[in-house]
């Protein structure tokens, strides 16, 4: 998980070395890929991994009648694009994706901000404040990562019902925040430990307390780590189905896009003009995030792979 993430910026000394290494390996790469079969294999894999998404996106713009009677590959003989599917899926009375899109946004923002803030504080305490049982507690938090969320769902749901706020945004925010904490604390703690102790020491000599050190010294240095985990958590929440299905149900008041798309797939599984456009609406935000923040994204993914 953490050992295998050299996308992190290389140590300053590695800069010079890396260049020569790259040159050395360029020759190696040439011999390796000079085999046409190797290139062909790479291209075949790349096509296999790209065509499914491409087919769906292209289909979502084709007229309903054509989606249902011909494959998207016939588009090139019979071009014709329309936004009707999106119009119907977003604003049609039976689909209402725009409502669920709003829900997805409303769910995601607090479910990203809250756990990161809490985890930052906890990680700081574990990294830089001395207190009894600190290491034991940290290991306990680390170990909580292995609890599958399935184990927690029913008791949590019945608690929410008992306290009278079941089926509201609060349950989804709270649940996502709880599930994110162990991993977030673990990752941010690793980053915090990497910060040179002399910096903290200097601040303390200047008379700064823990709160000042946290905000003035550590927070600015942690921006890349926060971005990496933030993107990971954003995608996790935006793409989540199980938590939303359990706590938000299917109501247009709270349920996010994923719940609506899954429901549509079950109830109107042959309405491909709705399904393609609906799926496209639900994946467009993560795709934009991916394309614009790829560097952070990869790092966040590598760090957070064991979550769930």
């Amino acid at each position: 998980m953490t050992t295998t993430s050299p996308p992190a910026p290389p140590a300053p000394t590695a800069g010079v070395k890396k260049l020569s290494r790259a040159e050395q390996r360029a020759a190696d790469a040439k011999t390796k890929l000079s085999s046409p079969w190797a290139s062909l294999l790479a291209i075949v894999i790349a096509i296999l991994w790209t065509v499914p998404t491409f087919g769906l996106l292209l289909s979502s713009f084709r007229p309903e009648q054509e989606i249902k009677t011909t494959g998207w590959w016939t588009y090139f003989q019979n071009p014709g694009l329309t936004l009707d599917n999106y119009d119907e899926v977003l604003f049609g009375t039976t689909t209402q994706f725009s409502t669920f899109f709003v829900n997805s946004i409303v769910i995601t923002l607090p479910a990203v901000v809250i756990p990161i803030t809490l985890a930052l504080l906890a990680a700081y305490a574990f990294a830089w404040i001395e207190f009894p049982f600190r290491d034991t507690l940290f290991v306990a938090v680390f170990a909580l990562q292995i609890v599958p969320i399935q184990v927690t769902l029913i008791p949590l749901l019945s608690e929410y019902v008992r306290w009278g706020f079941a089926g509201s945004f609060w349950t989804v925010w709270l649940s996502h925040s709880i599930f994110a904490l162990p991993l977030a604390i673990f990752l941010l703690h690793n980053f915090m430990k990497d910060i040179p102790q002399s910096l903290i020491e200097a601040a303390r000599v200047d008379g700064a307390g823990h709160v000042k050190i946290f905000f003035r010294v550590l927070l600015p240095l942690l921006v890349p780590a926060i971005a990496a985990f933030g993107i990971f958590q954003f995608l996790w929440v935006w793409n989540d189905l199980l938590v939303a299905l359990t706590f938000a149900g299917g109501t247009p008041n709270v349920a996010p896009l994923t719940v609506r798309v899954a429901e549509l797939s079950g109830s109107r599984g042959t309405e491909w003009h709705l399904l393609t456009a609906g799926a496209a609406v639900s994946i467009v935000v993560p795709l934009i995030v991916f394309l614009s923040l790829q560097r952070f994204f990869v790092r966040g993914m590598l760090g957070g792979a064991v979550k769930g």
Binding site: R25, P52, V147, G209, H210, P286, V298, G308
Partner: protein
């Protein structure tokens, strides 16, 4: 994240900062004089409210007191977009205000003792973890020993049901096949691809294309592939609209019900997970390949090793720790797979897996005991893989 940083104090010892952290009395003495008693009062108030909340929760658990709250409807029932966004902003502001009050009162308060600071930093997290993970986990394990209404104790009957009844045999078999196939194939393709595109001119683009499915939700991926598997009967004038069946037709074969024909339909669901996870495997392994020391590659080349030999005798052994981490990580994710099955078949046609069956039993059949047993089983299955994963991580750290 860089574990190989020699300057970093070894994790777990924590001794390096001890001398610093213990506030020596002469230093701590002037601080309270600057603090204000107002902030101390705020801190005490927050602590008191928290304690009352915890007490209320415990009392309600033992049944002494039943919570009856009539929350205002704007707080729990939002219907319009404006209401939803207002509630979201309200929630974020509320959170910021509470956290600011805690931090400010710790920082500015009079006579703040040294143990208050870590407590204030950790208490919100601790309360949430106990309430949201530990307590529910324990309760689920307990409920797995009770019947469908969680009233009558039935011992291990639910587990006996899972391991003996035919439909659950299929569920277990499917889960086993998923966990066996997905990590191996995804890691295999990811490794080959990482080696093939390593240090080529189009490396960034090539890796981006494979990694792209990671950004797509399991639900979205489920729709994408359901569309590919879509079946149209083999009749005059009927065109296939699913790519997979069109390819079969082009090859002169009959269209095939990919998602319905058991038991092979499981493999076509598994393909979706492989499609998603390969990007992860490829990225991690690509990073590991780039970290192989040059001298090893150089020495091998001088010995005349190249091409497949280089891959077999140099690349793979060098990145073994990364391979283990990838395989176990993907295996854990696969064990909990739910969304793909739910979206594509709903668990019908003999495609259910443990996580999906948990959902069906808990929320469709309302068999709480059986659902709890399935969730516990998931937990028990995950633990050994995680322990192995962590141990391998430790080992790989030692090697470096």
């Amino acid at each position: 994240m860089s574990q190989n940083d020699p300057d970093r104090p070894p994790a777990g010892t924590g001794s390096t900062s001890t001398a610093l952290d213990k506030p020596s009395p002469p230093q701590a003495a002037p601080a309270p004089a600057e603090g204000s008693s107002l902030w101390t009062g705020v801190l005490i108030a927050i602590g008191a409210v928290t304690l009352i909340g915890i007490l209320a929760f415990v009392l309600s658990l033992v049944g002494v007191w039943t919570p009856e709250f009539d929350w205002p409807s704007w707080l729990v029932r939002t219907t319009t977009t404006v209401q939803k966004f207002s509630l979201m902003i309200f929630a974020i502001i509320l959170f910021v205000v509470v956290m600011s009050l805690i931090l400010l009162s710790v920082d500015r308060g009079r006579r703040i003792r040294s143990w208050v600071v870590p407590l204030a930093f950790l208490a919100p997290t601790g309360i949430m973890l106990v309430f949201g993970l530990i307590y529910p986990g324990v309760r689920t394990m307990r409920e797995s020993l009770f019947d469908r209404t969680s009233e009558n104790f039935v011992g291990f009957d639910n587990y006996a049901t899972i391991f003996t009844q035919d439909i659950f045999q299929i569920v277990l078999r499917n889960t086993f096949v998923w966990v066996l196939i997905v990590p191996i194939i995804a890691t295999g393709i990811g490794l080959i691809y990482a080696v093939l595109v390593d240090r080529t001119r189009f490396e960034a683009l090539a890796k981006g294309l494979i990694f792209l499915p990671m950004a797509i939700s399991f639900v979205g991926a489920g729709i994408i592939w359901k569309f590919i598997y879509e079946f149209r009967p083999d009749q005059e004038g009927v065109n296939q609209i699913g790519l997979a069946n069109q390819i079969l037709v082009w090859l002169g074969r009959e269209p095939y019900q990919f998602l319905i024909t058991a038991p092979w339909n499981n493999l076509f669901l598994i393909a979706v997970m492989i499609w998603i996870q390969t990007g992860f495997a490829m990225t991690v392994l690509s990073a590991a390949i780039k970290a192989i020391p040059d001298d090893i590659v150089e020495a091998a080349r001088l010995d005349g090793v190249s091409g497949i030999g280089m891959f077999r005798y140099v690349t793979v052994p060098s990145i073994r720790p990364a391979l283990v981490v990838v395989v176990t990580t993907v295996a854990i994710g696969t064990l909990k797979i739910f969304d793909i099955v739910r979206t594509m078949t709903g668990g019908n046609f003999n495609t259910s897996v443990v996580a999906n069956e948990f959902y069906t039993q808990s929320f469709r059949q309302f068999n709480i005991g059986l659902g709890a047993a399935l969730a516990t089983l998931l937990f028990v299955l995950v633990v050994p893989i995680v322990i192995y994963n962590v141990r391998q991580l430790r080992l790989s750290e030692d090697v470096r």
